[in-house]
């Protein structure tokens, strides 16, 4: 599952208390997204990189993820430097590259990479169930937490159902084209998928009632914040505060 690609491991970062990871992650990401200073963003990028190192996550898989994210950033570079008002640095035909446009593109690139790395290093190193639990501990209503978790658990099942339906269509000689028949077929696939999901939801809710579900997922191993967790939280908050005010 996409959300849990990096969640298994025994590094110090993987072993941090999920509540601590979330309380550090949210302000750090907000600060990074809202800052317009290169020094702040670069520091956060560096910090995120350090966390990834500590989590022992530099791998082909990680680079591949980052490549995907940066493909989107590439589109930004194709437009923003040409469309911003400001000091021209280069002119090619009717297009003018401005210094402001270049700077802004650079800033957004750094921000994107910093936040992506942070997301992988902190929430990404936590199994989804623990993440859901941490959210609950941090005061998120249990209904929302359950929606988040159950969506995660069953999205895979629904995708599998969709794949099976596509296979069936193929086996029955359907090949998509731009015509009314294709549109109608896809519409009925969507409808079927909707009905099946609805029926499954009813069965899951029955199963939960049978199994004594009380509205909250029970946890076998409860979180226990250690001295390491407290230290990590304190150091992170100090750094974030300093970054906010310098």
């Amino acid at each position: 599952m996409q959300l849990e690609l990096f969640s298994q491991g025994s590094s110090p970062v993987h072993r941090l208390d999920p509540r601590v990871k979330l309380t550090v992650f949210v302000p750090a990401a907000v600060l990074c997204a809202s800052s317009d200073r290169f020094s702040t963003v670069i520091t956060l990028l560096f910090a995120a990189g350090t966390l990834i190192t500590a989590a022992r996550l530099w791998s082909a898989l990680l680079w591949q993820r980052m490549l995907v994210i940066n493909t989107f950033v590439l589109f930004l570079w194709l437009t923003l430097p040409f469309s911003m008002q400001g000091t021209p640095v280069m002119t090619t035909g009717p297009m003018t590259v401005t210094a402001e446009g270049m700077m802004l593109s650079m800033l957004i690139t750094l921000k994107t990479n910093a936040i992506s790395l942070m997301t992988i290093a902190l929430p990404g190193t936590t199994p989804v169930m623990s993440l859901a639990h941490a959210l609950q501990h941090l005061g998120m209503p249990s209904k929302l937490v359950n929606v988040f978790y159950i969506f995660y658990r069953y999205s895979g099942v629904i995708v599998t159902e969709f794949e099976t339906m596509k296979q069936t269509l193929k086996a029955r000689g359907f090949s998509p084209a731009t015509n009314m028949h294709t549109v109608r077929t896809w519409a009925s696939v969507a409808g079927m998928l909707f009905i099946r999901s609805f029926e499954r939801a009813e069965r899951i809710s029955s199963a939960l009632r049978l199994r004594g579900f009380q509205g909250q997922f029970p946890l076998m191993n409860h979180f226990r914040a250690t001295r390491r967790d407290v230290l990590f939280a304190m150091v992170s908050f100090c750094c974030l505060t300093i970054l906010m005010f310098i």
Binding site: M1, P127, V128, M129, I150, R153, G156, V157, R200, R203, I204, S206, A207, L208, R209, L210, R211, G212, F213, Q214, F217, P218, L219, M220, N221, H222
Partner: protein, 215 residues
């Protein structure tokens, strides 16, 4: 004593046709009963009525000598009952096999340490020890069925309802399930189309047709 009695039960789905008409059924404590019937006869519906997941239009359900009607009474009854769904994906909700097997016991408020012991024991019995930390969603169909069976047996139910446990199971899984179910000492009601499986497991049989049950 009868473990389960159904008197004059009538049920139809909202807007659907009548599924049960004056249905009567009684199952003795310790009885191993087979439930047969064509597709759409109402086997799954009966299991849901018995556990209070669906409410009949009229009629009564008596479990262990007590009439169950209110949601609270059904909740108490469900604590002593295990129902295995046909599709294990409906039932396996936790992110790891171990947590899923523990789910019901934890919901019932058993201390985690005690739960862990019971989970270990049932995993050893059903040969699931190697799968404990796996994600249930990624298991094979047969493994999923075994895990959902484990999650039920671990609660030590007095009444076990199995809805087509043999659908999609291969011979190996069937004989594995037989081995464990034959050791089960409570009351058992199994629906299946596999007559060989039923013959080897059950001592009595009920057949649903046209909305009522025949012995």
């Amino acid at each position: 004593m009868n473990c389960l009695e159904i008197h004059q039960l009538n049920f139809s789905y909202p807007g659907g046709r009548r599924v049960f008409r004056d249905l009567n059924l009684s199952v003795q404590s310790g009885e191993k009963a087979a439930l047969t019937g064509a597709n759409g006869a109402g086997k799954s519906t009966l299991f849901q009525l018995l556990t209070g997941l669906l409410k009949p239009q009229s009629g009564s359900i008596v479990a262990w000598g007590k009439t169950v009607t209110s949601e609270e009474e059904f909740r108490q009854m469900r604590r002593r009952t295990g129902l295995m769904f046909q599709d294990p994906d409906d039932q396996l909700i936790c992110p790891s096999v171990e947590e899923d097997i523990a789910f019901t016991l934890l919901n019932h408020g058993m201390p985690p340490r005690e739960v862990a012991g019971k989970v270990d024991e049932i995993c050893r019995k059903l040969g699931l020890a190697a799968l404990k930390t796996r994600v249930p969603f990624h298991l094979s169909w047969g493994q999923k069925q075994l895990v959902s069976l484990a999650g039920i047996l671990v609660t030590e139910p007095q009444l076990l309802l199995l809805d087509e446990p043999t659908a999609g199971a291969d011979d190996h899984l069937k004989s594995l399930m037989l081995d464990h179910l034959q050791q089960f000492t409570g009351t058992l009601l199994v629906s299946s189309h596999d007559s060989d499986f039923l013959e080897r497991l059950c001592s009595s049989a009920y057949h649903i047709s046209n909305g009522s049950v025949m012995r």
